[in-house]
């Protein structure tokens, strides 16, 4: 069972390049020299980054070609605020290091039915589009990319794509005073076009609004949200009432996995929050439950009397389960 649930990749850092003052590009190969799993354009991996005794799980889009699985590439922008996983990537990770990562998953695939694809991106948001354009260009699909950068010193990735795809790549903010205007871009496109946006949330909102103003349907507007956290999150502890055992749930494991590791049993089947098998009664709670399942109804959730241990977590000082 463990293999399928914790299945992770061991990636060796082959090369680190600084591509802008804030962005490093990392090239990985499989630590054991084998092939990496294939993926589709728009996929991401979660990299497990050791940081001051803890582990950060940051999602990064794969920007290398989906047709070459001898290596993966990601780009990491250093962000000084927040949980600071990117700082560790920039400061601590060296060529030759081995990092754990999840198998690629795709929450931002390209449409297979589009007549034309328009990509709008800001800064490091261009990374998933690298792989998507590779896929589309191999298939001979029609596309264009509009990329906004904060100045010429931040434009290296844009230049690289311009080199590959020529006029189909339009750069904004590269020292020539141009500004990306999504309303204008979307206005002149033929029916059957699909739009993809990746960048700061302000930009995503702006593109969605512009598309709606032009009368686009949601099925033709694509954007990525890294909301699929699976069953991981902040640590908490849980008390099993029947044995009195106190189990610590670490950030990397689900409540169910922690209970199993401690030698206790809970019923389960799907381990994905859908089947209802592991539904467990909450006897005491001081805090809030982070319900992540598809099983409990909205009213069940509000009562906080039930939890699905295979995916859900809690932010709490006390959680006692009838188990």
């Amino acid at each position: 069972m463990s293999e399928a649930h914790h299945g992770s990749l061991q990636l060796r850092v082959k090369r680190i390049e600084a591509v802008t003052p804030e962005i490093n590009r990392y090239t990985f190969s499989a630590a054991d020299g084998s092939w990496l799993p294939p993926f589709s354009g728009g996929s991401h991996i979660r990299v497990l980054i050791p940081f001051e005794g803890e582990t950060r799980r940051n999602a990064y889009s794969l920007m290398s070609s989906p047709y070459d699985t001898s290596e993966y590439q990601i780009a990491v922008r250093r962000v000084d605020e927040g949980k600071r996983g990117s700082i560790a990537m920039h400061r601590d990770v060296r060529e030759g290091d081995v990092l754990s990562a999840t198998i690629p998953a795709n929450l931002f695939p390209v449409s297979k039915h589009a007549r034309h694809h328009v990509f709008i991106a800001g800064g490091v948001g261009v990374t998933p589009i690298y792989a998507q354009l590779d896929e589309l260009s191999l298939k001979g699909s029609s596309f264009e990319l509009h990329l906004a950068v904060r100045g010429p010193e931040h434009a290296a990735l844009g230049h690289e794509l311009r080199e590959r795809y020529g006029e189909r790549v339009v750069l904004y903010g590269d020292g020539d005073g141009t500004r990306l205007n999504s309303y204008e871009i979307l206005g002149g496109l033929p029916l059957g076009t699909h739009a993809y946006v990746c960048g700061p949330s302000r930009m995503v909102d702006d593109v969605i609004r512009a598309a709606h103003t032009h009368g686009w349907t949601d099925s033709h507007i694509h954007f990525e949200r890294f909301e699929d956290l699976g069953s991981t999150g902040d640590p908490f502890s849980v008390t099993l009432a029947r044995s009195g055992a106190v189990v610590e749930v670490s950030p990397e494991q689900s409540l169910l996995e922690a209970v199993e590791e401690a030698g206790h049993k809970l019923p389960y089947l799907c381990r994905g929050g859908a089947c209802g098998e592991c539904e467990t009664e909450v006897l005491e709670l001081e805090g809030t439950i982070d319900h992540r399942d598809d099983w409990l109804s909205e009213s069940d959730r509000c009562t906080n009397k039930l939890i699905m241990p295979c995916v859900s977590r809690a932010t709490c000082t006390k959680l006692v389960l009838n188990a």
Binding site: M1, E3, A4, H5, G7, P37, P38, F39, S40, P66, I103, P104, A105, N106, P109, S111, K112, H113, S219, D228, L269, C270, R271, G272, G273, A274, C275, G276, D294, W295
Partner: protein, 367 residues
């Protein structure tokens, strides 16, 4: 594709058709390795999805199971495709990438799980595929359909047991984009092609009310490559007939009226469907395989009496609406009556047989 004469342990001359006089039987080992689908005395339609990880030494050991009927089943597929071209295998044009994904998944799995029968040798995109059970040794370029004699999906699934439906993810639902379905249980691939998840589940009674469909879809959309899940399903069928599609209904439906409490043991087959779903890596499609196992009620009683008792109880307490949907209401009573003679009412373990403490086949008298 010429089958080699008689590879050890395989029964290459079985038939699944009236023309071939339904020449099919299971060995004792084949029965006792089945993915038996009844964990409880009462059958409930449920979201019985679980991670598809190797379990035990039977049908759940491999990612895609191969058993003693492999050679005969591949021959049956070939026969069905020749008899009704364009009915059993269909693929929409934009599914080509998923076709290659599926070929890779099946061949890699067979190569890993049954190295004595299959060898896949990869040198970049130049692949060599050896299938010793069917006497195939082909080289082709992965990704180039010109280098294969037919579509990659047809090529791979002609050499695989079970049927395969490929679902494309579009607009937050799953749409049927391709299928190899020579073993259809009462539906039409042509009719269902292009339908989405709620549309092709339309005929299943009660599902909607129970909210199962929505939950199942959300779960499937979150599926990731490398993390397959499985479920088991079942039905009953008359004769060991694999192909019971809507298109050939006049050929097989009348047999349902010939079952009696006297002949049900030999005429009625439990049809077990093992469904291991995989997210495909390049196309982001999901493949929904249906690996069908046939076992007669008499074979169950002889080789797995514990399971026969369980089938009796599950059928006896079955909701008539489900029996109707599954297409056996006409002989439901006859099957229950025949089975009742082989059930002493002793308590049985609960849980699937591959789960610790689950129901085991029981010790029947060996032949």
């Amino acid at each position: 594709m010429t089958a080699v004469s008689n590879p050890a342990g395989f029964t290459p001359d079985e038939t699944y058709t009236p023309g071939g006089e339904y020449r099919f039987r299971n060995s004792r080992e084949a029965v006792r390795r089945l993915p038996f689908p009844f964990p409880d005395d009462e059958y409930m339609y449920s979201m019985n999805l679980e991670p598809h990880v190797s379990a035990g030494t039977g049908a759940l050991r491999a990612a895609f199971d191969v058993d003693e009927h492999y050679v005969s089943e591949c021959a049956h597929r070939d026969q069905m495709l020749r008899e009704m071209p364009g009915v059993h295998y269909l693929a929409l044009p934009h599914m080509m990438e998923a076709q290659w994904d599926l070929l890779e998944l099946i061949f890699e799995s067979y190569n890993r799980d049954f190295p004595e029968h299959f060898t896949l040798t990869r040198n970049g995109n130049e692949w060599r595929w050896q299938n010793r059970l069917l006497g195939i040794d082909d080289s082709f370029t992965f990704g180039d359909p010109e280098t294969l004699p037919m579509d990659p999906m047809e090529y791979a699934t002609r050499q695989a047991q079970g049927e395969f439906v490929v679902l494309e993810e579009r607009d937050n639902t799953l749409v049927i984009g391709a299928g190899m379905t020579t073993q259809r249980a009462d539906y039409s691939l042509q009719f269902n092609l292009g339908m989405n998840f709620s549309e092709f589940h339309g005929p299943v009674p009660k599902l909607d009310k129970m909210g199962i469909l929505d939950r199942a879809l959300k779960f499937l959309l979150r599926m990731k490559p490398g993390h397959p899940v499985r479920r088991v399903n079942w039905s009953l069928t008359v004769h060991p007939r694999l192909e019971t599609s809507v298109e050939t209904l006049p050929d097989w439906a009348p047999d349902r009226a010939r079952v009696t409490a006297e002949n049900a043991g030999d005429m009625v087959y439990l049809r077990i469907e093992l469904q291991p779903l995989h997210r495909l890596p390049r196309s982001n499609a999901i493949v929904f395989p249906v690996r069908t196992y046939l076992v007669s009620l008499a074979e169950l009683v002889e080789h797995a009496p514990g399971w026969a008792k369980r089938v009796h109880r599950a059928l006896a307490s079955l909701d008539p609406e489900l029996a109707d949907y599954k297409g056996f209401h006409r002989y439901h009573g006859a099957a229950v009556e025949w089975l009742s003679r082989h059930d002493d009412g002793a308590p049985l373990a609960t849980g699937y047989p591959w789960i610790e403490g689950g129901i085991q086949p029981g010790s029947g008298s060996p032949r």
